[in-house]
């Protein structure tokens, strides 16, 4: 009897275990396996995504470096080609100035215009302009050669304006009227109204004194005083510069070097027998060097954005 009951109990327990395994453990196991697959799948896909983005990043970096290299090579080649062309143009134009007796005034002026329009950011063209001016012997206002002088001054003014447009964008400026009649009446210098300008967070005070004016040569002797307050102390750093100002002063070339890689220049806008008009501009020193800032901008933009050109600029252009 006891054996029968024991067998019955064992059978009962066996069926209960079977029931437990088939009813509960089976589905739970599938669930666990499914969850494990899900987790491993999620982790795996994440890992793959990270790998792909890392690869893309490195590829983009390589592409950026390649783009920089291609761009710099292109620029170098273009620069070399331009330099060859400029060299030829410069040499042929220089011939006119080295042999002035063999060339007419008209040819000389035309060559100066060519030189000025192509090299105004690189060379100091003031001596050429002065040389040509000396070649124009104007006897009176009604002299036909007066037109040559007007043309010479117009060329100089157009170059000055071109340069000023670039410099005003990054710098600060102010203009003043010079009463030449008053200058003739007073003894000593004529002080113009002072002004303070802030460029790249640096504030400077500018005082301009006009000492003399030459109506015939349309030039003025100017004294410029620049004061910069030092940040750490109450000391003031003063720069005094004295020079002749005429239509042939080009701000990218004829400028005063200031601390923190900044420059200051004065240009002559107009000059008459009774009045003159001048503009002072302060700008970052990088603009005083031809071409370089534009390349810098491109490379900097390329490194930051990974794009060769600013898309917004292209949109505006097209």
């Amino acid at each position: 009897m006891e054996e029968q009951e024991k067998a019955k109990k064992e059978k009962y327990l066996g069926t209960k275990f079977e029931k437990f395994t088939t009813r509960y453990l089976g589905p739970c196991g599938s669930l666990i396996i499914a969850t494990a697959i899900l987790i491993s799948g999620y982790l795996g896909s994440n890992y793959l995504k990270e790998q792909a983005s890392a690869k893309a990043r490195s590829e983009k970096g390589v592409l950026t470096m390649e783009a920089i290299q291609i761009y710099s090579n292109m620029m170098r080649e273009q620069e070399e080609a331009e330099n060859r062309l400029r060299k030829d143009m410069f040499n042929s134009s220089m011939k006119v100035f080295s042999m002035p007796d063999t060339y007419k005034l008209e040819e000389q002026i035309l060559n100066l215009e060519l030189l000025a329009l192509n090299f105004h950011e690189t060379f100091n063209l003031k001596p050429f302009f002065r040389f040509i001016r000396e070649q124009i012997p104007v006897s009176s206002v009604y002299d036909p050669k007066e037109t040559y002088l007007t043309r010479l001054y117009a060329t100089a003014k157009s170059i000055m304006k071109k340069q000023m447009m670039v410099l005003e964008g990054e710098g600060e400026k102010f203009s003043r009227m010079v009463d030449l009649e008053r200058l003739g009446q007073i003894q000593g210098s004529l002080q113009l109204e002072e002004e303070s300008l802030v460029v790249e967070g640096i504030k400077r005070n500018y005082k301009i004194y006009v000492r003399k004016a030459n109506d015939k040569l349309k030039e003025m002797l100017i004294r410029l005083e620049i004061r910069t307050q030092k940040k750490s102390s109450e000391d003031v750093n003063t720069i005094i510069s004295e020079y002749r100002l005429d239509y042939f002063n080009f701000p990218m070339i004829h400028n005063v070097t200031l601390a923190h890689d900044q420059r200051c220049a004065i240009v002559l806008n107009e000059f008459t027998e009774s009045c003159a008009d001048i503009t002072l501009v302060t700008f970052p020193g990088s603009l005083a060097v031809r071409g370089k800032p534009y390349y810098q901008d491109v490379i900097q933009n390329l490194l930051v954005t990974g794009k060769l050109f600013d898309e917004n600029i292209n949109k505006e252009l097209w």
Partner: protein, 112 residues
């Protein structure tokens, strides 16, 4: 007769070109462009004639003056009337950027 007419016309045209000036630029007050429609009035000291123009958007203006010499410029609108500032008109166009500054109830014009 035709020759004389051509010569006279040429001289007249040349005189107009030689003695015609223009001033242009922008006017700001408190760092902002002055209101559109503000009036710029210039009284030439040599001839006594008055010329005026109105400010466009962004405080920009342009005033054609037939002649050269000194003149007094006044800026005014519904809110203000500036003190006169002495300027010079040249044969060529010239830029005059101005800043209006309030001092003791009156508006001073400073050149920038």
């Amino acid at each position: 007769m035709k020759k004389y007419l051509i010569v006279i016309l040429f001289l007249l045209l040349n005189t107009t070109i030689a003695f015609s000036g223009e001033i242009y630029g922008t006017i700001k007050k408190d760092g902002k462009p002055i209101a559109e429609g503000s009036e710029i009035e210039l009284e030439m000291l040599t001839s006594g004639k008055t010329y005026s123009s109105k400010c466009a958007k962004y405080g920009s203006y342009s005033l054609y003056v037939p002649g050269k010499g000194r003149g007094l410029l006044i800026i005014r609108n519904e809110e203000l009337m500036s003190e006169p500032i002495l300027i010079y008109i040249y044969e060529n166009a010239i830029q005059y950027d101005f800043v209006l500054e309030e001092k003791n109830g009156s508006f001073l014009v400073r050149r920038r």
